[in-house]
């Protein structure tokens, strides 16, 4: 059992790149549409909520509401982009298109495939998050150049949510089950992580829950750099995010091995 799991792990440090490049090539053919699709949703939220609610809310934590919201939307866009890629697109490659099966005939191991898929989903998250960061910085809602520190955090956030979504992909019998993850996990997380309003508004118990959510750690890192403020507890936030990226990776690998190599 353990031997079998070891054989399914990534074969080396670079094999996954072939999987990543396959997805990149497929994406290149529809790049513009894909980017616009990824950008539209968070942009609408940002300007819809930011300007609409902003009039009523006024300033939040010393910043305009739209600048406060911008950091949240950057993190949320990374979360959404990598989640959707891993749930729908990776599931299609595993299940209906049998792309993974073809890969398994080669030097590539299951671990390489999972790693390549996660890296690709994180790349898409990085592109979506970066695009919004650029737009908000250009419009003056984010501080320049400290906003650049947000970029690696966006990538890490992408890894985290790709990794978590891979568990759902590994367990789902069909596409229909993804909606449960989206509505029961991601949507509550959106409201419990300080993306749209400050966490200290919440009752104590909810604040405790929020501290366990990966999205709140991502926002705790992204918001200060976008607003050019000092960050506290960098190591803790990065550490939690790293755990959220790594542990689900191994868990999803084990689940996928059981599913595909039985």
């Amino acid at each position: 059992m353990i031997e079998g799991f070891a054989a399914a792990l990534p074969a080396n440090a670079w094999n996954w790149v072939a999987v990543w490049r396959r997805n990149y090539l497929a994406w290149k053919k529809v790049a513009l549409v894909s980017l616009l699709g990824n950008l539209a949703d968070p942009m609408i939220y940002l300007f819809g909520l930011g300007t609409g609610l902003g009039i009523m809310v006024g300033r939040v934590d010393g910043a305009s509401y739209i600048a406060f919201l911008a950091a949240g939307m950057v993190a949320v866009s990374a979360m959404t982009a990598s989640t959707l890629e891993t749930l729908y697109a990776a599931f299609a490659r595993m299940h209906s298109q049998r792309t993974w099966e073809a890969m398994l005939y080669t030097h590539v191991t299951l671990g390489d495939i999972v790693l390549g898929e996660l890296a690709w989903a994180a790349t898409k998250a990085f592109m979506a998050g970066t695009a919004i960061t650029i737009v908000t910085a250009t419009l003056g809602y984010a501080a320049w150049p400290s906003v650049l520190y947000a970029l690696p955090i966006i990538a890490l956030t992408g890894c985290v949510f790709a990794s978590l979504a891979m568990i759902v992909t590994a367990l789902s019998p069909s596409y229909d089950y993804f909606v449960f993850y989206q509505t029961l996990v991601l949507t509550p997380m959106l409201f419990l992580s300080g993306a749209v309003f400050p966490l200290d508004q919440l009752p104590g118990a909810f604040q405790q829950i929020a501290r366990c959510m990966p999205l709140s750690h991502a926002i705790d890192l992204i918001r200060p750099v976008m607003l050019d403020r000092p960050i506290s507890g960098i190591a803790l936030h990065v550490g939690v995010l790293a755990l959220y990226a790594l542990l689900p990776f191994f868990l999803s690998m084990a689940l996928l091995r059981r599913r595909l190599m039985r």
Binding site: G4, E101, A102, H107
Partner: protein, 348 residues
Amino acid sequence: MSQDQKHQVLKRKLGPEDLRRFETPAIERESHGQTSAKSSVPDSLSTVAVDFAGVTKSYGNKIVVDELSFSVASGECFGLLGPNGAGKSTIARMLLGMTCPDAGTITVLGVPVPARARLARRGIGVVPQFDNLDQEFTVRENLLVFGRYFGMSTRQSEAVIPSLLEFARLERKADARVSELSGGMKRCLTMARALINDPQLIVMDEPTTGLDPHARHLIWERLRALLARGKTIILTTHFMEEAERLCDRLCVLEKGRNIAEGGPQALIDEHIGCQVMEIYGGDPHELLSLVKPHSQRIEVSGETLYCYAPDPDQVRTQLQGRAGLRLLLRPANLEDVFLRLTGREMEE
């Protein structure tokens, strides 16, 4: 016909041009600086390409492969013949290390599988039952991307792609999307894709299922070209005709058990040994008693009576004067062997 004789015949059919194309494996010609896929497989010159010994696999209470043993020699086309559900695809998956047997040992190209399956896969090409090409990519891109999974650089893949396109007869379709190809072309591309790592062993899982007769003949012809090139082929099929045409040896599977093994003609001679008369157009049970004394064996399947008769003229005489009967005298084939061994029709 011995295996050597058979190859000689194939070579004559192929003609010198075809053979020259296959004399030098494409990857070896171009693989400067790359570890050749072929050379890194230990025992690549071993005469046994694949060995299954007492392999058992079950899912829950269902035994899918039952104490299966067989050996495939280098350069031969070995068939796994059986109805759907006989365990053919599971055997192919175990051979590739994609699923572990519950008991028994598997050796592929001198390497224990699944323990060192990744190493074994260097020398294996796979043509799967279900199309898993990248539909949104062009023909060329499919080959390029697949080469990368074997660690081949773009330059290395591009060097072998022309010969692969030529093999697949897709030179003019190199930049066409896969979704624009016909079923036969897709299967040819899948075969070409399986050759990108210049494998010694090619596993073909139901390669002609779902193809029209033209495409099927094209695939058979390409498959023979691979044999002429010295490749070892494991072919799973439920088409008796396909197995009879292509396989040097085959094993007949029923419920995961090896119920007979040998060359197609040897199996036919051993289990049937005479011509077969098919009789239809009447009540088979009524006819049964008429022809029984003159038959070695009789099978009824649906409305057809299969009469294994050493002297068919006697049967003909018995049936003379009966209106509406149609008689067909033909040489025995593998299907007859299968019916004989399992006592029922193949489940399509």
